[in-house]
Each structure stands twice: as structure tokens, then as C-alpha cells.
């Protein structure tokens, strides 16, 4: 792998791959690095039905198409990169990999997306895959005619609870607030489902079980009353947090660790741009990530053409 590029893009989700497509097509020498599989959170979507111009596809297939497009325009895309350190101030920007490889560029786009939020309670890690799950479509049939819990109160949690009702005997939804954040019509649907039961205003305390999950224990936030729900499974849908840890000390972020950008998606560091779920924004969709990737790429090109040459 060569070491000098015009632009390095950190992250190979929809924002990063779109940046790769636009930069590659503009004949900008571009490297897209991802620490995991290419596609980001999109590959975890079983079905994508609202991406304009594509009737319905899987997240994996959509990502694979974006990857082919980026490579066809000349971008180098490297998945499963192990990044040791970054240096973002000055020019060039420097990315050092764990194997010692030193990569440089004159502009850098941070498109590292988000990572699923964890509850951070006892036994969460130990019982993941042994009752605790994050994909209703993948794992729902393991819980046919069994009681389960769903954690969360947004659209994802309630829609997945509805889907799981095809399998489970009883579903208890535990939510941290006294009201749901989901759209009103989604809330209306789940409240009409006789298999679904609700424990609101709950603070999750711990998961219990030896070889596999047996109980979810929560405490009412107002009364302090502890409730233990006997379940065989628990599906967690409590959103995402920005994957900004690697750059948080180098660019300006807000109190939620989201990278602050201007309208051109420039960060507080000259020549560094941010795109997708890692930056401050209201709506996080594949389409908005793709838009961000486009803007960040065009802004990076402007930065390259406007910078003083040696």
C-alpha cells in the first residue's frame, strides 16, 4: 500500500464511501480506511426500503454497491485497518497504523459513524449471545413461545418489539422515560398488541443468569421499587453514540462527543472535515450520511485547490 494520498477518509460507511466515490471521480488520490467491515451500521440493516432510487435492498448489498463504485473511480478502500495514532494539526495529516505504516494526506475526512450504545450494567457482556441480542430479524426465532424483554422507547425498539411479537409469548418493554420517543402511530400500534406489556420510567440495574439470561432487573426512577422480569431473551435498542473517541482530543466536539462542523462540514482543525453520524446533526439516516459524504468530499477538494503549494 502506498503511503501518500491527497485525502484520507476515516470510516467506510455510507458517508465515507460516498466521499470516496466523489473524490475518486474527481481524480483525487484517496484512501478510505475502516477499522471494521466496510458499510458501517448500514450492513446491520436487514432491509433498506426508503433509499431513493432503490426499491428495496439489504444494507449489505447497498454497501457492497457503494464499495464497488468507490473502487471503480479509483479510491483505495482498506477494511479492518488497525489505527495506532493520528496527527491532524498541520499539513500533512498523519495516520499511523499498528503495523508501523505511516500514511499522510493533505486533507482528512472523519466519517467514523456511531457505535451501539450499551447499557453498561452487570452481566451485559457475559450474556450477550446467550439471551441478550441486538437483531430481532436474526434471532427472533430462538425465542418462539418464550417471554422476552425489549429495552428502549424509540422507533427502533417499538418496531422491533412488534416484529418479535410473531415469535415470543410475552414481551415486556422497559424504557427509561415515562413516555415513548417513537412516532405516535408506532406507539399506538404497540399499545394495541396484547402480547406487549410496559414498564416505564425504569433504570436498568443488571442482567441475571448463570449459563444464559434468566432475569432483567430494573428500578423505578421515581419510587425506587425494584422489579425482576423473568425472561429468556432481551433485545436492546437504545441508540448509538458517536464514534469520535479517536479524534475527540483534536477537534472541537459538543457535550455528546459529536464533532462540531460548519456548513461545509469543516471541523475546528483546518483541512479536517467530518461527515455522517459522528458529527452534530439532528437526523441520522443513510441518505443524510450520503449527503454529508458528498459535501465533505467537495469541501476537501476546495481545501486542496486553495492551499498554498510548496
Amino acid at each position: 500500500m502506498k503511503s501518500e494520498y491527497d485525502v484520507i477518509v476515516l470510516g467506510g460507511g455510507p458517508a465515507g464511501l460516498t466521499a470516496g466515490i466523489y473524490l475518486g471521480r474527481a481524480r483525487v488520490d484517496t484512501l478510505v480506511l475502516d477499522t471494521g467491515t466496510v458499510g458501517g451500521q448500514t450492513v446491520l440493516s436487514y432491509s433498506v426500503a426508503n433509499y431513493p432510487g432503490v426499491e428495496e435492498t439489504s444494507g449489505h448489498a447497498l454497501s457492497a454497491t457503494m464499495l464497488r463504485q468507490a473502487r471503480s473511480f479509483g479510491a483505495t478502500v482498506k477494511p479492518y485497518a488497525s489505527i495506532e495514532s493520528l496527527r491532524l494539526d498541520g499539513d500533512p495529516k498523519i495516520v499511523t497504523l499498528k503495523d508501523g505504516t505511516r500514511l499522510t494526506s493533505h486533507a482528512l475526512i472523519v466519517a467514523t459513524g456511531g457505535v451501539p450504545r450499551k447499557l453498561g450494567i452487570p452481566n451485559e457482556e457475559e450474556l450477550t449471545g446467550k439471551g441478550i441480542s441486538f437483531c430481532a430479524t436474526c434471532d427472533g426465532d430462538f425465542f418462539t413461545d418464550r417471554p422476552i424483554a425489549v429495552i428502549g422507547g424509540g422507533n427502533s425498539a417499538l418496531e422491533e418489539a412488534q416484529a418479535l411479537a410473531k415469535y415470543a409469548s410475552r414481551i415486556t418493554i422497559l424504557h427509561e422515560f415515562d413516555h415513548f420517543q417513537a412516532h405516535p402511530w408506532v406507539v399506538e400500534e404497540v399499545k394495541a398488541n396484547p402480547k406487549l406489556h410496559f414498564l416505564m420510567n425504569q433504570e436498568l440495574q443488571r442482567f441475571e443468569g448463570s449459563e444464559k439470561l434468566e432475569h432483567v432487573v430494573a428500578k423505578h426512577k421515581a419510587t425506587g421499587k425494584e422489579t425482576s422480569v423473568a425472561v429468556d431473551g432481551c433485545f436492546v435498542f437504545i441508540g448509538y453514540i458517536p464514534n469520535s473517541r479517536m479524534v475527540a482530543s483534536m477537534v472541537q466536539t459538543n457535550e455528546r462527543d459529536e464533532i462540531i462542523t460548519d456548513a461545509a462540514l469543516a471541523t475546528s482543525v483546518p483541512g479536517v472535515f467530518a461527515a455522517g453520524d459522528v458529527r452534530v446533526k439532528r437526523h441520522r439516516q443513510i441518505t443524510t450520511a450520503v449527503a454529508d459524504g458528498t459535501i465533505a468530499a467537495l469541501s476537501a477538494i476546495e481545501h486542496l485547490t486553495s492551499r498554498p503549494t510548496a
Binding site: 471494521g36 466496510v38 450492513v43 449471545g129 441480542s133 437483531c135 430479524t137 436474526c138 430462538f142
Partner: protein, 116 residues
């Protein structure tokens, strides 16, 4: 049917063959679902770095998977894929659900690394 570039194990005899003819085997038993696909991709990425390991997959709904589902080590598993690591035909490690590269390579290094 799994649409991957990995060798597929689709029968009991094929499972016997792969375990008999390879000292180290990583087998991912899953579907073409969102939690399984990243693991298949990861296995394909690992092939060059671990030439001493046979990387294979198996359809969770296929006939060969019944032998996997009966294993005591996976009795408590409730998330796809089931990923199993065999050394000299013996199951030495098993995980349930999606795994990161670091999680997989940690296991590969730990259970197969000493003799690689």
C-alpha cells in the same frame, strides 16, 4: 444457501472431512443476515494472515447444522452466527453473535497461535 466466498460445509460427511483434514478450523454457522455477513467478510480477510487455519461456513438451516446445534457448548447460544474453532477435530472455543476483528483474532492467536 450461503452466498459467500468461503468453502461451504453442507453435510455431515463434509464436516467430518474438514475436521479430519485440517488441524485448525474456524467454522461460522449462520444465515445471510446482518449479524452474520460481517463475520464471513472478516474470515475472508483473515485467510492470508492465518494460512494454518481452514475458514469455512455452514448454513444454519441446512442439514449439516444439526450436528452443530447439538453441541453442548452452544446450548445456551441465542444469537447468530455460531462461530466455532476446532483444533485437531476437537472444539476448543465457540462464540455467539457478531464479533469484531479484535475478538476473532484474539481467539485465533490464543487457540491456534502456539503451533502456527
Amino acid at each position: 444457501m450461503l452466498l459467500t466466498n468461503l468453502p461451504h460445509v453442507d453435510s455431515d460427511s463434509a464436516l467430518d472431512d474438514v475436521l479430519t483434514n485440517n488441524e485448525n478450523v474456524m467454522l461460522c454457522c449462520g444465515r445471510m443476515g446482518p449479524m452474520c455477513l460481517p463475520v464471513y467478510d472478516l474470515m475472508e480477510q483473515c485467510k492470508d494472515d492465518y494460512p494454518n487455519v481452514a475458514f469455512v461456513d455452514m448454513d444454519f438451516d441446512g442439514p449439516a447444522a444439526s450436528a452443530i446445534r447439538r453441541l453442548p457448548a452452544v446450548r445456551s447460544f441465542t444469537s447468530l452466527p455460531f462461530t466455532l474453532y476446532f483444533h485437531k477435530g476437537q472444539l476448543v472455543e465457540a462464540t455467539s453473535s457478531i464479533q469484531t476483528k479484535d475478538q476473532v483474532t484474539d481467539i485465533l492467536d490464543r487457540v491456534f497461535g502456539a503451533e502456527s
